[in-house]
């Protein structure tokens, strides 16, 4: 991929606009939330072209949006946000991605850094043993075929009903961990067979489990509402819908591509294949996607349970006494039906977020009651050597980005280059010097995920905070990371 040479104009310190005149078929402008420094990196690949391509989709409202962690993706860029009316809009599998509901969950504890710092290694080993992870990892949950259909319908509730976690966890999960509109029949047998043995496993690649502590508070009132304070131990879970979600995407990209031709939708890139949401193909894809999203929420719920068990084992106390409660769980790759105000009129939209996070402000009915006055927590994982953030949704984000913000750091270096450029032992040692212990199933995966292979999450977060589409609440520093 070469450097992008298309036209762009800076609107302000945090936004770039790609004019609709740039290429034939663009119906609206592209807007990328980015500062000067990150823009230089982003132009190194064709992701801005993909922002322009998304602007050609039929019925796209207002703008083709991209967050500062934008990088090249299949069809849509990672970091892309696009909204269409449900009445006559489209649904686009490329706008959601292969890892449907890849997302993160944050747990908090009543433990402090001092109480945990000598037990990080033991904790990591215990978690590593209790949570299946790694290449070809299989979950330790045995369920029947019919029960898998229940997972697709009930999501995290299925796991809670099986004893993995508590009802309160559901309250603090986007969509309550149970997206409506699932039809298990819309999920192929191949997808089910891929997902069946993997339920309750972390996976590999960029998925991880991380022990952290809160090192900086930016907004005390909101942090208090989320139960977060300086020096507190937190825990972050990053995983998705495993092979089931990947197969749903593979199956429907083919089906929707044919539907694009059937409905005579002109595409500038075949990977932007889409179908009317209300067509048979569109409805079926939505139902299958919702099922995969629910699988991912059930998966993170089960992992939460084993993380709690691990803390109980190490600290010889119940998770309730340790205060190991859920702050929130957000999806990063999903399309959701939401109500938004468009030119002063409330409308029902389908909002695609691919490598982007919902970030709703105070007062929205989707937010848990105890967060209603402050807004929705937004969880932003960084790389394993730097930081993660908790942000909160804002009214400005609601108005400008359909209540969306960034999702993480975003890669800047290929996996091959990372493997060539870093030595595993040196990486482990350099992280250890920073006070971060690592445990990984695959040494190859570890070097691929070296901190330098990612953008600096601080820079990404500073853009969305500066632009006002979400606001910094606190920052966490890693203490121990397990990877697949």
């Amino acid at each position: 991929m070469g450097r992008w040479k298309g036209p762009s104009r800076r609107i302000d310190d945090y936004r770039i606009i790609i004019p609709p005149e740039y290429k034939p078929g663009m119906k609206v402008p592209g807007i990328i939330y980015v500062d000067e420094g990150l823009w230089e990196t982003i132009m190194e690949e064709e992701a801005p072209e993909q922002v322009a391509n998304v602007a050609t989709l039929p019925g796209l409202l207002k703008y083709s949006l991209a967050m500062p962690d934008i990088h090249w993706g299949y069809g849509f860029p990672i970091g892309g946000v696009a909204a269409f009316e449900t009445a006559d809009g489209i649904i686009n599998p490329g706008g959601i991605g292969y890892d449907i509901n890849c997302g993160v969950r944050l747990l908090r504890t009543d433990l402090t850094l001092n109480e945990v710092k000598n037990k990080i290694e033991l904790l990591l080993e215990t978690i590593f043993r209790n949570v299946p992870s790694g290449l070809g990892s299989k979950g330790k949950v045995k369920i029947s075929q019919n029960e898998l259909d229940s997972v697709l319908i009930k999501g995290a509730r299925f796991a809670v009903e099986r004893g993995y976690g508590c009802k309160e966890d559901l309250v603090f999960t986007e969509e309550n961990g149970e997206m409506k509109g699932t039809d298990p029949q819309a999920v192929s047998m191949e997808a089910k067979k891929r997902g069946f043995p993997q339920l309750g496993s972390l996976g590999s690649g960029n998925h991880f489990l991380e022990i952290q502590y809160v090192d900086t508070i930016y907004d005390e009132k909101t942090a208090n509402a989320f139960g977060l304070k300086e020096g507190q131990i937190t825990f972050l879970i990053h995983s998705g819908s495993r092979g089931l979600g990947h197969q749903v995407a593979t199956d429907y990209i083919k089906i929707i591509e044919r539907a694009s031709q059937k409905y005579q939708i002109k595409l500038v890139d075949r990977q932007l294949a889409c179908a009317p949401l209300n067509s048979d193909e569109g409805k079926k894809y939505f139902s299958a996607m919702a099922g995969a999203a629910n699988y991912a929420w059930a998966n993170r719920q089960m992992i939460t349970h084993w993380v709690r068990e691990s803390f109980e084992e190490v600290f010889k106390s119940s998770w309730e006494k340790l205060g190991l409660k859920q702050v929130y769980d957000v999806a990063h790759n999903i399309a959701k039906i939401e109500k938004h105000t468009v030119d002063g009129v409330e409308k029902e939209l389908i909002v695609h977020r691919k490598g982007a996070t919902r970030a709703f402000p105070a007062g929205r009915p989707e937010i848990p009651h105890s967060y209603k006055d402050v807004g929705q927590p937004v969880l932003i994982p960084g790389d394993m050597g730097r930081y993660s953030y908790v942000l909160v949704g804002t009214q400005k984000g609601m108005e400008e980005t359909w209540g969306s913000t960034c999702h993480g750091a975003g890669r800047v270096m290929s996996r091959t280059a990372a493997k060539k450029g870093f030595n595993v032992q040196e990486l482990i040692e350099s992280l250890k010097k920073k006070g971060i212990l690592i445990k990984a199933e695959s040494r190859g995966t570890l070097v691929e995920e070296a901190p330098e292979a990612y953008k600096d999450v601080n820079e990404v977060v500073n853009v969305v905070h500066g632009a006002g589409i979400s606001r910094k609440v606190c920052r966490m520093k890693p203490l121990g990371v397990t990877k697949g």
């Binding site: 299949y74 191949e190 990947h246 197969q247 995407a249 990209i253 990977q271 270096m413 996996r415 091959t416």
Partner: protein, 135 residues
């Protein structure tokens, strides 16, 4: 093997080639498999037939590898041998065995085979197949 891996920021590509269509297809199947696990340790104790009905040549390669990915991930069936039986429709016979964690080493997870820059065709005297994988 007549293949090489292609650089990509987030993912990885594979290009494979051969003097015939069949050879290029067989090469990319084995290159794909050896990206995921160590194919040397796989014995062909069982054979399976894969048929692909895609409209385009590039689509055939994407769909074929997607079906192989399903065999690996959904059926735990590792392939070590590939033979193209016909091109229209594309029918491929794969030989392999069920995953045995004691003997088989998994190397990478592939989420999906994508249509990005997917290609199958003749360049000069050589047939070339190319795909990018979401990993």
């Amino acid at each position: 093997m007549a293949f090489r891996y292609l650089e990509h920021t987030a993912d990885i590509g594979i290009a494979a080639w051969g003097e015939s269509k069949e050879q290029a297809i067989e090469e990319i199947c084995l290159a794909f498999s050896s990206f995921i696990y160590d194919t040397d340790k796989v014995e062909s104790s069982e054979f399976r037939e894969i048929m692909v009905d895609s409209r385009t040549n590039a689509g055939k390669i994407v769909d074929l590898l997607s079906k192989i990915l399903y065999l690996i991930d959904g059926e735990n069936f590792l392939i070590g041998e590939v033979k193209v039986d016909s091109f229209k429709p594309l029918i491929v016979i794969v030989g392999g065995e069920l995953l045995n964690p004691l003997r088989h080493k998994m190397k990478s997870i592939v989420k999906a085979v994508t249509h990005y820059k997917a290609y199958f065709g003749k360049k000069g005297n050589t047939y070339l197949a190319r795909v990018y994988l979401d990993v």
